[in-house]
Point group: C2
Chain length 274, copies 2
């Protein structure tokens, strides 16, 4: 059976295979006319297991390709026995880096997405707990330890972005919904008590009223909360707040969580490598 439009992609790793999957999916987004069938094969630790994957790839539909992220150098050597084409991600790149830096690569599996550096790992879990406890303005008393506090209207993407930042970068990411009552209490937009003293750690998420109404409508159809009028009033008040208090902000109308998170990291001068 040969179906050139449906390549069989075997994601082979001695770890979780998350790197192989991320890279392969990214590469295949550039071939929108292909519909790859993904075969995730994580935690491959022995030549025998690898040989059985090769047999499966050979016996299955064609075309097939193995995308391998094998940290173990001996296992990587076995890739030469593959009956189908191989993209050996680590082999090619690690050799380049070895030459560049004049130092040999080690050969340890599961470094990237395992426990790895335990203190860094523990910090990510701690950050996630913090973010869950400080979602949606739930707790404002200890925002002082936050790495970042996201501000915006309800349903502007604060919660997913906070969780993403905590999970992936170990950032203590809180978020605070700016509600009209908070903002409209005087001539100039009021700074809610819980947000005072947060200086450069606040980032605003803005969104067009149309898109906001669309998102809210999906959750609470026909509600005042989802009405364009209400969304417009909130967006205006929030923009005024962000301008008055000179809070850096970004328009998230067209952005994914990953794109928002990337830009938030750029907005702040966040400590590196956390």
């Amino acid at each position: 059976m040969l179906d050139a439009r449906c390549p069989q992609v075997y994601l082979v790793s001695d770890g979780t295979g998350i790197t192989a999957e991320t890279l392969a999916q990214t590469l295949f987004t550039q071939f929108p006319n292909l519909e790859p069938a993904w075969h995730r094969l994580p935690f491959v630790q022995t030549p025998g297991r690898l040989a059985s994957i090769f047999a499966r790839a050979e016996a299955g539909p064609q075309p097939a390709v193995v995308v391998a992220t094998l940290a173990n150098v001996d296992l990587r050597g076995e890739l030469r026995h593959s009956p189908v084409p191989v993209i050996d991600v680590f082999g090619e790149q690690l050799e380049r880096l070895e030459q560049l830096f004049g130092t040999p690569a080690q050969s340890v599996s599961g470094r990237a997405h395992g426990m790895g550096d335990v203190s860094r790992y523990d910090r990510r879990i701690e950050a996630l707990n913090y973010t869950l406890a400080h979602d949606d303005g739930l707790a404002t008393q200890d925002l002082s330890v936050a790495d970042v506090v996201l501000l915006g209207a309800s349903r502007s993407g604060k919660t997913p972005t906070s969780l993403y930042l905590a999970m992936n970068y170990g950032l203590f990411a809180a978020n605070y919904p700016l509600v009209p009552e908070d903002l409209n209490s005087g001539d100039v937009p009021h700074m809610p008590r819980g947000l005072r003293g947060l200086g450069g750690r606040m980032v605003g998420l803005t969104i067009t009223p149309q898109r906001l109404a669309q998102i809210r409508e999906a959750r609470r159809p026909g509600s005042r909360y989802a009405s364009l009028e209400q969304c417009r009033a909130e967006c205006t008040a929030i923009q005024e707040f962000l301008d008055t208090w000179k809070v850096p902000h970004l328009d998230v109308t067209q952005l994914s969580v990953e794109e928002i998170a990337t830009r938030v990291r750029d907005c702040l001068e966040l400590p590196r490598g956390r």
Copy 2:
């Protein structure tokens, strides 16, 4: 200035740069004696911007390396002007895939971590909302739509794993804490009402009492909840429950969230590509 131990790594992308960062960090875990300085440079869209990055890399400390994930083929062509070594992730691999499948790669930025496929993106956000609403047994009435329900003791890693599965794979991942009162009501461990009929969608997370006590102790020092005795009793009861009801389970004592998530996906025959 030359410090071979601290290579300057320029992560250059016309998208978020998440693929470049994931891959580069994975590669550098194999060089534990190096302490790379990371320079994230996402959303690079013009040759001029690329040229200014090259100038910065050349003027900065050495050694330096550019790790590029540029989907745009013209920008990728500019990489040949780099004054420092380049790892052109896409160029090398996309050419391979073009040859393998006899079809040209397109050249569109931001496909991997942008909105991309909107329905797939919306599903991820929907999944995250579902998971937040069904964390820790908060709501059991609509577990019937869950893709997976994680079972385990309080603090066995259910919440981070659920969020990871929802965020990254768009899985409706609920979780349910098995508490001793739930389990000890008869001769055989009781199946809580909310979990009935979930068939093959339940996965248990087990953990050693020692590790559980350690995690709990960090949160509630000196409590009965964190005592080894209490943890031991809970772990025994949970194991008995999982065995009685033949729920597939995994020991997460040594596993990271990514590793647990990978094994959970393996445990279930989950629909692909969600």
